[in-house]
Assembly symmetry: C2
Homo-oligomer: 495 residues x 2
Amino acid sequence: MGCPALLLLLLAFLAPGPVKALRPALMTLGSLHLQTNPTAHPFVTKDYSVLYFQQKIDHFGFNSVKTFNQRYLIANEYWKKDGGSILFYTGNEGDIVWFCNNTGFMWDVAQELKAMLVFAEHRYYGESLPFGKNSFKDSRHLNYLTSEQALADFAELIRHLQETIPGVKNQPVIAIGGSYGGMLAAWFRMKYPHMVVGALAASAPIWQFEDLVPCGVFMKIVTSDFKRSGPYCSETIRKSWNVINQLSTTSRGLQYLTEVLHLCTPLTPRDVQHLKDWIAETWVNLAMVDYPYPSSFLQPLPAWPIKVVCQYLKNPNVSDSLMIQNIFQALNIYYNYSGEAQCLNVSTTTTSNLGSLGWSYQACTEIVMPFCTNGIDDMFEPHAWNLKEFSDECFKQWGVRPSPSWITTMYGGKNINSHTNIVFSNGELDPWSGGGVTEDLTDTLVAFTISEGAHHLDLRASNALDPISVQLARTLETKHVKNWIRDFYRSGLQH
Amino acid sequence: MGCPALLLLLLAFLAPGPVKALRPALMTLGSLHLQTNPTAHPFVTKDYSVLYFQQKIDHFGFNSVKTFNQRYLIANEYWKKDGGSILFYTGNEGDIVWFCNNTGFMWDVAQELKAMLVFAEHRYYGESLPFGKNSFKDSRHLNYLTSEQALADFAELIRHLQETIPGVKNQPVIAIGGSYGGMLAAWFRMKYPHMVVGALAASAPIWQFEDLVPCGVFMKIVTSDFKRSGPYCSETIRKSWNVINQLSTTSRGLQYLTEVLHLCTPLTPRDVQHLKDWIAETWVNLAMVDYPYPSSFLQPLPAWPIKVVCQYLKNPNVSDSLMIQNIFQALNIYYNYSGEAQCLNVSTTTTSNLGSLGWSYQACTEIVMPFCTNGIDDMFEPHAWNLKEFSDECFKQWGVRPSPSWITTMYGGKNINSHTNIVFSNGELDPWSGGGVTEDLTDTLVAFTISEGAHHLDLRASNALDPISVQLARTLETKHVKNWIRDFYRSGLQH
């Protein structure tokens, strides 16, 4: 069995302290390429090319002429030079092949849109490392890991495709991305509208910054998912923290926790916060991947995994020992659905996982998302958002301090109505929807909510078990994309 | 007497070679603060505050936390907290006080718009030097001199004003600029539409890049100005180059040129190209400042200075010696209108002029504007645009090479129709209008041509001798600005 690298990121990064559980940096999918058994879409394995494009390491300065190779994938089985389109995946914090394998939606609509599919890897992830194995060495080498540089990479890559592949120049490009990649898709349309005629931003929490949304909304949605998935489920979890705290006060209790939770290493008082963070992280992860069919996104899981988990968490009023046994059963669904795990490991770090490292740095610089819990509106122990403490942790790990207001200065916060042609989709089950655009802003900045959707379910390949809500969302998304393509050809914007 | 620093920039920068005359980097107004006797607007001298704002030297990286003080000026005599507005001058390549003194338009409309006037100095110009006197030392120190960093400075400064001056947060901000500053105003609206409700981009050649306009258009307009200002004027100038070339073949001829042109130092064969560049530059400068009333923009000049100059250039068929005498009379209008010059100096360099240095660096990196002449459509000696040669010169001077396609990748080239609320104004006499937006692109991207206007005449204070065309342009510009302000208040976009 393996501990999900996402969690490990959190553990690896955070110094002990009450702020820990408040940083569900789960958005990071960077580590997911470690996934050994992805549910590959049938098209994917058979037909894409892996290519590399030489990018300037620094698009915003001229002192250095250093370059690196950005990896990208192209699939053009259904592309037509006549009346076709380019679907451009704005790669996020992970290996682009993994994203390619998990974005079946693009493959599903390729034929209808006569589309070339392009998947662009985000710098500092996968194989697109500006300084090779030294890329994460220190803040000097990490200096070019920003969303602005990534967007410039996309722009240069599109220009390269236009100049080197006959036919591309006269076709509309559509940006598509999910999660942080969805934020990039939206921001790309905002900042480079001359490059893409529109953007599909799936589960993109572009408002999870500063005070644009309440810091507690994320964990509140996680809680709501558990509440609706089984009677007394969220109450049971809310009560479990104190049970752990109580047991942790004695060595016998620590031993009991170690044994019942099947921990790989004996629990010490120093590890208790780690343990709780790890458990909290598990519930958060489940909320993200609460998909309607068996899937293998973060872990191999059954359909509607929270429902399965909640079958073990029906009673908040059991004895302490039974409570821990039930928590274990629940955790075991997530960590050991395959049945192969010998023990559960809460303290492994993932310094070898480039994706996690990169995201941790980004969260410490630009992508500063305030999170908090109060234990009332959510099922977690109360933790306030503490920027000072967060900043100190960042400085300790990376030698940098966050600029919490930069993203809204750069990308506009809630004042984005002058932009056009962006579809924001959100899953009602997805905790990231709390920071997303969930209502139409204008006629051309539209929002869809997928009532039964977790984290960018709409970007996944269609599935027989898909609920109506995601089928409808995909239909509407495709309609918008088709309208953008139609408008492009009508306007004669071709070069 | 003084040689205009603009010219000196050209001479200082360019290595000998045929490419010289093809770089009318005249857009650079950076040196103009050396102007000793500006026509100050009555309001200016009495009422503005000089302030400084701490900016990050690098907005696009987190490795360095270094900052510098950006200078800006605020005038709020007519500002009303109730229903007012903020007119934000996007400072270009020079001392902001000089621009403040030469942008009377903003002062003229302040009362009507209940406007606070803000003049933001561009980094690396005036007093806003990121590394003090080392700012131009080498390409490492110059690395943060880009339009993107300057726009980010503007965004951070506006945010600072919103957060520190009660009332600003709920008011619309309008970007205003001329020349390179006009490009910045337009680009600022494109990239940060959440910061400004609209932009007035006066004489902003945002299309003087790559092959968006013919490289010869600039010098063709210069020629046209001379053609229309007097019979045989442009023909005379076209013929003068060969006369200079002929005379330069003998030492007696060189001596004649030295004496008749009143050159401060004897002309040598090595200096002949310098001399011709300097003369060409003079004609270009005259085209830029061919204002309808006596002014002191580049030099103290009479009204319609080209007409005055052309009185000496009526006959292309005179003897070589008379031709040179006539050329001198013409030059003397430009360089010695005050009558104080003892001799004309063609080789002074301006390494102490920070504005010129900065612009030279910008022209060698991002702001790569192709210029050419063919001697047929224009009155100059033929010179092709030679990127290779230009790049080598840049590398020699700054250790950097230009990225000629970056600006269009970043700012969209001609594909900018998705943006809104930009007024582009151009003077028909201004050679920079050749690279400007001179026709409406959409309902909200509108263009005005001022038939009797030279370089951003509309931004200057109103004058009794203003032609109707500029009066009309100012009226329409003000109307658009008022509409943006009205729309802002109607939309309830206040924070």
